[in-house]
């Protein structure tokens, strides 16, 4: 009877995952969804601690100890991380989940080897798959973390013809899996070799992918971790692992595809890596000269505008300029200027990146306009200040079918009366392409680090 109750508790946990994910996908209910999924996990863990009963060693000291350490570390890490470093954190967490699956498979393989009993094709296949997928998720996520955090550069880890290397490694890993399955049981040494191969493959899989594509890669690796949890569920014949893992696997895959769509690229294109290859069609397109503006002129322009719209981009994050930006905003508002922020859905390097930064600087929500709102407000805007954005305001997206960003919806900043661009140089952004906007008659450039430029602007405005 207690067994049934626990089985039903498992089921309730699985349903909590489903409803939790469902709620996480709508802004009004997302917080509750996260809580619900966490409760589901709690139920499942508690149920597992007591069930199945039977006269087994239990080893509660080890288990509880491990849980306590893990919880403590996880909690601290999650709460001490900077808002802007969250994607890195998620990547590490994901890698650790994959590592857990690897350890499980490894231990099971060793027990088979020690006992010397044959396990059957199905069991070997499931164990080998868990190891393979978990390992790729593990080393892949760690490399993704290193790249995101700027600790490793693409060129440091990418070899020429890297995609051929990756295909070879994939064939080797799958071949290794098949070979393991023919030995029943395989020796532990062989398993260790196979594991090393899988770990290398995970690393190499992520190596050629551009650092800025890491959010997409993390989502993909996340679905891998889900799959490895599901295959591990097959080992233990445990439904909640199975169902939870598959759910994450399926929704992670869709999420990855959606992210690619939001950038107007294909998943394949992302994985192959090297964005911007054939993109220089218009880059060398002339000796056009961009107009510049002095800080004081820019300050006057903003001060006497009726309405100003900031367009933040990746450069805002690099310069950590959100607080200064808010300062300029406050100064302008104190003088009766109507200030808004235009948030492009893929500005920055992760969805919601700009929202996070501006929330950190306490910009109130009603000042943030989404793409459509901003585009309808722009024709009535006096001055646009582009703070380290580039691709998301590139007119080539509308009129140059050869451009890699063609088709992506952009902010039509050229509808406004004046445009001031804050960036350090004429260098391109993420997509690696020129931006004709910088040569637009309405545009003036204010070169320099965004934080410095804004600070100077603030100083000038105060003196007006």
């Amino acid at each position: 009877m207690l067994a049934s109750a626990l089985n039903l508790a498992y089921l309730a946990g699985a349903l909590a995952f489903v409803v939790g994910i469902r709620r996480l996908s709508s802004p009004d209910t997302a917080r509750k969804g996260n809580l619900l999924a966490a409760i589901g996990m709690g139920i499942a863990i508690v149920a597992t601690l007591v069930y199945p009963f039977g006269p087994i060693p239990n080893n509660y000291a080890w288990i509880i100890g491990g849980m306590a350490v893990g919880s403590g570390v996880g909690w601290l890490a999650a709460n001490k991380v900077q808002m802007t470093a969250m994607p890195q954190m998620v990547s590490i967490f994901n890698g650790l989940g994959g590592a857990c699956a690897v350890l499980l498979a490894l231990i099971e393989f060793r027990q088979l080897d020690v006992a010397g009993t044959s396990a059957g094709l199905g069991a070997l296949l499931v164990l080998g798959l868990t190891l393979l997928i978990g390992a790729v998720a593990f080393t892949g996520s760690i490399l993704a973390y290193l790249k995101l955090d700027g600790k490793v550069w693409d060129s440091q880890v990418t070899l020429p013809k890297h995609s051929i290397l990756n295909i070879i490694l994939l064939i080797l890993s799958v071949g290794g899996l098949v070979y393991l399955c023919t030995l029943d049981p395989p020796s532990f040494g062989l398993v260790l070799g196979y594991m090393a191969l899988c770990l290398v493959y995970g690393f190499s899989f992520v190596a050629p992918i551009g650092g800025a594509d890491m959010p997409v890669v993390i989502s993909l690796l996340n679905s891998f971790t889900g799959l490895s949890a599901a295959t591990a569920g097959l080992i233990y014949n445990n439904q909640i692992m199975l169902v939870g893992g598959i759910l994450v696997g399926a929704s992670g895959t869709i999420l990855t595809v959606l992210m690619c769509q939001a950038m107007n690229r294909s998943l394949f294109n992302v994985i192959i890596g090297g964005f911007g290859g054939g993109a220089s069609a218009k880059a060398s397109d002339g000796d056009q000269v961009a107009k510049t503006v002095s800080t004081s002129d820019a300050a006057i322009q903003l001060f006497y505008a009726q309405s100003v719209m900031f367009v933040p981009g990746y450069g805002l994050a690099v310069a950590q300029a959100q607080k200064v930006c808010k300062e300029v905003d406050d100064l302008l508002q104190a003088n009766g200027v109507d200030v808004k922020y235009a948030i492009h859905p893929v500005a920055g390097r992760m969805p919601g990146h700009m929202n996070v930064l501006l929330a950190e600087a306490d910009v109130p929500y009603p000042q943030l306009l989404d793409l459509d709102e901003a585009n309808s407000a722009l024709p009535n805007t006096d001055a646009v200040v582009i703070v380290g954005a580039n691709d998301v305001v590139n007119p080539a997206a509308l009129d140059d079918p050869g451009s890699p960003v063609y088709g992506m919806p952009v902010l039509n900043v050229w509808d406004a009366k004046n445009i001031i661009v804050l960036k350090r140089s004429m260098r391109p952004g993420y997509a690696g392409i020129q931006n004709q906007l910088f040569f637009h008659p309405k545009t003036s450039m204010l070169f320099g680090d965004a934080k410095d430029s804004l600070q100077e602007l603030a100083g000038e405005i105060k003196n007006l």
């Binding site: 863990i45 893990g70 996880g74 967490f93 949890a229 445990n238 009603p366």
Partner: protein, 105 residues
Amino acid sequence: MEQFFQFVDNNLILLYLLAFTVMLGFELISKVPTVLHTPLMSGANAISGVVIIGAILLLRRADAEDYFTLVLGTLGIILGMINVVGGFAVTGRMLDMFKKRKTKS
């Protein structure tokens, strides 16, 4: 091949469950707005920590003298638990932004 067919016949309901779970996963996500991509990814990542259930089961059954299993298993539990607790906590922090959104708009 024979083994595959046997598996199919013996685990039919399991296959239905798998197929339907995949469908459900697709359905659940297919209409999520862009700003929620990152929190959703993070929440899903926390859920993928269910793999810790396997580590607990493994450890509960492990021989109390088998230190290889005990140590590696405990390591697995630690890593899994970091994924679970850290994952949900980070997601919660990300979503706090949206709470602010709500109350002010």
